[in-house]
């Protein structure tokens, strides 16, 4: 037995991962999210007036549009962090891009489910080939493609690099898709701007606008919160992965 009072083998550095560190940012995001969500529900159901033609069903709009906003925001964030990653090559950028894409899928799914529900209730058709909805459908597939690239077999930096490239190209594609579809639709089913399931321009009263803006803010807080939590989680996972690797090496020696 060694007279050395220290342990004979140096302990592996244990990352103290028992509790999720609650930093200031997390608290702010969480608080902001809760407050704005409650406010949003108040504004949607108490403040905003009931729409004349569609009735109460129109309230779906307050979930549908902010979700679409968040979905596109998420893809934009993925785009920005993809560029940053290709230039700086820091892993944290790739993590942000990846988590944002995952959240984007969730909100795109919300848009694509609330859209048909609204369409069925107002226009009695489950799907409308209108520009925003169809672009969101393609956005969904682009997100999926991004995640599939991320799931490839291989080293993380190759996957991250390829996914980043795809993130950039995919985002560049979205405006073109939107214009192509809008053109496609106007030639055959002239949609008066503002008509159709995602109507926004023309005929939105102030009280509805306020409710919409509050809900957009609420959903943005929700997105930011989930993004923040998601990124810290991924970082933990990466650390644990490194730790396991070191452990494996130790065992082999």
């Amino acid at each position: 037995m060694s007279m050395n009072l220290e342990r004979e083998k140096a302990p592996l550095p244990i990352v103290d991962l028992a509790t999720v560190k609650s930093s200031m940012l997390t608290k702010i995001l969480y608080g902001g999210m809760v407050v704005s969500m409650l406010a949003a529900f108040y504004f949607i159901f108490m403040y905003a007036e009931v729409e004349k033609t569609m009735g109460v069903v129109q309230k779906i709009f307050y979930m549908h549009v902010p979700s679409a906003w968040v979905a596109f925001l998420a893809f934009f964030v993925t785009f920005v962090f993809s560029i940053l990653f290709l230039i700086k090559r820091k892993r944290i950028y790739d993590t942000y891009a990846y988590v944002s894409a995952e959240i984007g899928v969730v909100f795109t799914a919300i848009v694509l489910t609330t859209g048909p529900i609204w369409a069925k209730s107002s226009w009695n058709t489950w799907w409308a080939w209108e520009p925003r909805l169809t672009t969101t459908l393609i956005l969904f597939f682009l997100f999926m493609a991004y995640l599939m690239v991320r799931q490839m077999d291989g080293v993380w930096d190759k996957k991250a690099r390829l996914a980043a490239v795809f993130g950039i190209i995919g985002f560049a594609d979205v405006p073109i898709v939107f214009f192509a579809i809008r053109w496609w639709q106007s030639k055959f089913h002239p949609i008066v701007f503002g008509d159709g399931p995602s109507q926004e321009g023309g005929g939105i009263s102030p009280s509805m606008l306020v409710a919409l803006l509050v809900t957009i803010a609420a959903f943005t807080f929700l997105y930011a919160y989930i993004l923040h939590k998601g990124v810290s989680f991924e970082n933990m996972k990466i650390k644990v992965g490194h730790y396991k690797e070191k452990l494996r090496e130790k065992l082999e020696n």
Partner: protein, 224 residues
């Protein structure tokens, strides 16, 4: 740089002409797609004529994917991709060369299979052949430009045949929309030619934007 690209294009085309394996597969596959379409849609029926413009592009897309995939995956054998990367040329020349080779191949497939499609469906072109060729050119250009790029990206995966369509279809949707609309007008309804030309402008814009983008980003994809 153009010379390097041409060298690569020539290498690809010559090695293909020796076995004619991929080209043959692409053409046969196109024929099979036409066959399946004739089962799905009744060729004798007049309303089927409306399907033909779309069918043209379905054939191009599906056989194109075959050729695209092989053109990049073949560089994995004997690790020739490393050879290309180490050679004194930009990654962009590799992209350009592969693009030219793939483009020529898809043109050959189109020249063979589209008349076959028209034959089987007894389709009489009541429009301009010249504009039709133009649409084919512009559309295939965009498709192959982004296709070569994504094939290079997907070739890094073990399941590249599955990944490539997943990546390619959403990305090329503007091309497909524009080009089927334009083809429909050109083949059947020549009065709306100006609309067709606008669609072709959209596709041409896509071609330019993504050709340049892929040209610039290819070095990140082909990194060692």
């Amino acid at each position: 740089m153009l010379r390097a690209a041409l060298t690569i294009a020539k290498k690809d085309i010559y090695s293909e002409l020796r076995t004619k394996q991929v080209l043959g597969t692409m053409i046969i596959f196109a024929g099979l797609v036409i066959l399946v379409l004739s089962f799905a849609f009744d060729p004798a029926n007049n309303t089927t004529k409306a399907v033909i413009p779309g069918a043209v592009w379905i054939i191009i897309v599906f056989s194109g994917i075959l050729g695209l995939n092989r053109s990049l995956v073949s560089e994995q054998r004997n690790d020739t991709m490393h050879g290309l990367l180490v050679a004194p040329m930009d990654a962009s020349s590799i992209y350009l060369g592969k693009f030219m080779a793939n483009f020529s191949m898809i043109l050959i497939v189109e020249i063979v299979s589209i008349p076959f499609l028209f034959l089987l469906f007894d389709f009489k072109i009541t429009g301009s052949i010249l504009y039709f060729l133009l649409v084919l050119f512009v559309g295939s250009f965009g498709f192959i430009a982004i296709g070569t790029f994504l094939a290079a990206l997907a070739s890094n995966s073990k399941s590249s045949e599955m990944l490539l369509p997943l990546l390619l279809f959403p990305m090329t949707s503007p091309v497909l929309i524009g080009v089927t609309q334009a083809t429909k007008i050109i083949l059947t309804n020549m009065e709306k030619l100006s609309t067709a030309l606008s669609w072709m402008q959209l596709v041409a814009a896509y071609d330019v934007i993504f050709f340049v983008l892929c040209f610039l980003l290819i070095e990140y994809v082909l990194e060692v």
